[in-house]
């Protein structure tokens, strides 16, 4: 399957005129996405939208306003988490008194796919995958199956998550975030925890090779706490799909959390020390569907045939990029490999 258009909303200048040279700094351990102005959304609707929904509409709507898609397939771990906790707070603070339903209706994770279909009157296939660090990967697999079932169709596929003050709080209590870390020295840290991030990356995907931005050759997604098993499956993935590792880039989800560095390193070694390693979480922070940003970055690398120096983990002499292999893991449990080529 082939990627044709994409829009990426992130904490960096990735939407509209792309500038990946200058990096916006994180603040208090968070990287907040830069939101575009939303056109084509009724004001009453806009006022009630959470940031996750606004980002989803901002990335998705321009792609499907002109082009008819045969399905809207979204991956989001949390959807409108801020609304969810606002409603939760009302329940407790008002001791289950009579509440207004607006936050409740907006809090469902399928609000993004639902609003996109509502605004465009799209009554086709509509799905919301919420399985944390595999939510976007499942959205891609869903699209892949849809294209196998009906080859002449096309789909909007996206990954979105927001930082809400509340899920940040819960994840920080659980030890996933360290608010003293910043994106300027993310990878030199030897302590657990990372910085929080958010964003929305959306893609129009179909079977047409002509003028495509990239081809997704393979996706593998699974859960495991056993690093040796992850490495074995990565090796198997490489031998199954990737016969040629010349002109190949490896995008790693390394996030500065010392606990996960060995896992990323073992996959780097498995692919071979001659392959340049690119990292991206100093631009995005960590969030469950950050692999959607990584896929956008892979398309960017294939289109430009280079990336700014700050992305590279080591010195490299890569002058031609024909394929990109992504490895991302979330909270040490969820792992995915994606192979993208020109």
């Amino acid at each position: 399957m082939y990627i044709h258009q994409h829009i990426c909303i992130s904490p960096q200048q990735t939407n509209g005129v792309v500038d990946l040279e200058a990096i916006h700094p994180s603040s208090a351990g968070k990287l907040l996405a830069l939101e575009p102005k939303l056109g084509g959304v009724p004001p009453g609707m806009l006022r009630r939208m959470s940031k996750a929904v606004r980002m989803g509409i901002g990335a998705g709507l321009p792609l499907i306003k002109e082009v008819n898609v045969d399905g809207i397939i979204i991956g989001t771990a949390n959807g409108g988490m801020e609304d969810c906790i606002q409603f939760l707070n009302q329940i407790i603070d008002y001791e289950e008194g009579l509440l207004t339903p607006a936050n409740f209706v907006q809090s469902t994770p399928n609000a993004i796919a639902g609003q996109l279909s509502l605004i465009t009157k799209n009554r086709a296939y509509n799905a919301t995958h919420v399985h944390n660090g595999l939510a976007f990967e499942n959205a891609l697999i869903d699209a892949k199956m849809s294209l196998a079932e009906k080859p002449d169709t096309q789909y909007l596929v996206g990954g979105i998550d927001e930082i809400s003050s509340y899920n940040y709080n819960i994840d920080q209590l659980a030890g996933w975030y360290d608010s003293t870390k910043s994106n300027e020295d993310l990878y030199t840290s030897t302590a657990p925890g990372t910085i929080a991030g958010e964003g929305a990356a959306m893609f129009v995907i179909n079977n047409n090779a002509a003028a495509a931005l990239g081809r997704i050759d393979a996706i593998e997604a699974f859960q495991s706490m056993d690093q040796e098993q992850v490495e074995a499956r990565f090796k198997n993935f490489l031998s199954t799909y990737n016969t040629d590792i010349n002109h190949t880039l490896f995008i790693s989800g390394e996030n500065g959390d010392s606990r996960f560095l060995p896992g990323y390193t073992s996959c780097e070694l498995a692919i071979g020390s001659s392959i340049p390693v690119v990292r991206f979480k100093h631009l995005t922070g960590e969030y469950p569907t950050s692999s959607s940003f990584a896929l956008w970055l892979a398309c960017q690398a294939l289109a430009e045939q280079s990336l700014p120096a700050h992305f590279y983990k080591n010195e490299h002499n890569l002058t031609q990029i024909d394929r990109v292999i992504l490895y991302n893991q979330y909270q040490g449990l969820q792992h995915s490999f994606i192979l993208v080529s020109r």
């Binding site: 809207i72 771990a77 959807g79 969810c84 906790i85 409603f87 939760l88 707070n89 009302q90 329940i91 407790i92 289950e96 009579l98 509440l99 207004t100 339903p101 409740f104 209706v105 907006q106 809090s107 469902t108 994770p109 399928n110 609000a111 796919a113 639902g114 609003q115 279909s117 509502l118 465009t120 009157k121 799209n122 009554r123 086709a124 296939y125 509509n126 799905a127 919301t128 995958h129 919420v130 399985h131 944390n132 595999l134 939510a135 499942n138 697999i141 869903d142 199956m145 196998a148 079932e149 509340y166 709080n169 819960i170 209590l173 997604a221 699974f222 859960q223 499956r233 449990l333 969820q334």
Partner: protein, 396 residues
Amino acid sequence: MSRIVVTGIGIITAIGETADENRDSLIHAKTGIGKARFFNSRYTGQLPFGEINQSTELLAEKLGIENNIATRTDLLALHAAKQAIIDANLSKEDLSGNDTALIGGSTVGGMCLTDEMYADANAAGISNSPYLTSYSNSANTSFLQRYFNVGGLVNTFNTACSSSANAIMYGARLLKNGLAKKVIAGGVDSLSKYTVNGFNALMILADEPCRPFDSERKGLNLGEGAAFLVLEREEDASGKRVYAEVRGYGNSNDAFHPSSTSVEGEGPYLSMKRALEVAGLSPEEINFVNAHGTATENNDETESAAMLRLFGTPPDFASTKSYTGHTLGAAGAIEAVYSIISLQHQEVYPSLHFTQAITATGLSPITTYKQKNLQHIMSNSFGFGGNCTSLIFSKM
């Protein structure tokens, strides 16, 4: 193209903790809706619920879960998934294989712990809460993955009240597309202050046992439960007991309103129509519809309108939500199990508390138990956000 078959079923609801117990209640028109004993909310005494008659502690004890990190949602999911896995005779090696997938669906997830989540979301400093990774709506699927060491693809749907119907659809498609050889698919939800207050704020909770498709219906009752199916390709299931075929599935978005269905039931109509297309069946070949039938003003009328439009004269139909209450993300899987046991025993179960048809549509559900020749049953699940999914199960 391979046929996708059901080789294991597992279920727990307010009307029983096995498929046999559920069937017994359905045959004898025994509802599970009544006064809740374990759910703790301001509304516990005021509203009827389809509560599972066991404390969370007892559920944990019976499943041999000793630590206190499993939520009620996790435990209900484990109860049903374990039954289905044993029923389909899946071995440890089967479960850990890279081609065994686990697909769940849930709306509440770990938010059954409303008060705990409130405390943690607003806590300052250090927390000793055991639930920090339990709140998400995918936490219960990860709990099952770790418990059973499932080796293949793992996913959770949240398309509101059609979540587990989409999980079953996705699971069947993974098998058809060769992306898995065995799939455990289903869903779970437990009673939660979160959903009770949400539906209460929308003013669609009835203060009496719900009356699906009745002209005087007053809204829905919330319930809880879980159901899982084991799905395999027919050629991989030889020698196994096969309950039914997953013959068709259709999904559409109504694209009308975040929390109500369009008057003409466009989304429901399209999901049913697409399910027929995938199944290669004409409308008159459907022998029975397990309706979404929540007993809200909006759903029952729009679902009726969609059935009239699709079928002309609709086949027999009923809503089992008059037994279980609306189990939200679990409803699609629970009603899939009911459709499957209907096919297995060639019988249909009555809708409860119905007296008079809705004037605009004039459709009446069946109100008495009967034996009937059944080849194909359609099961509908429609949710907030416009998400509509229909499944078709067929006798082998």
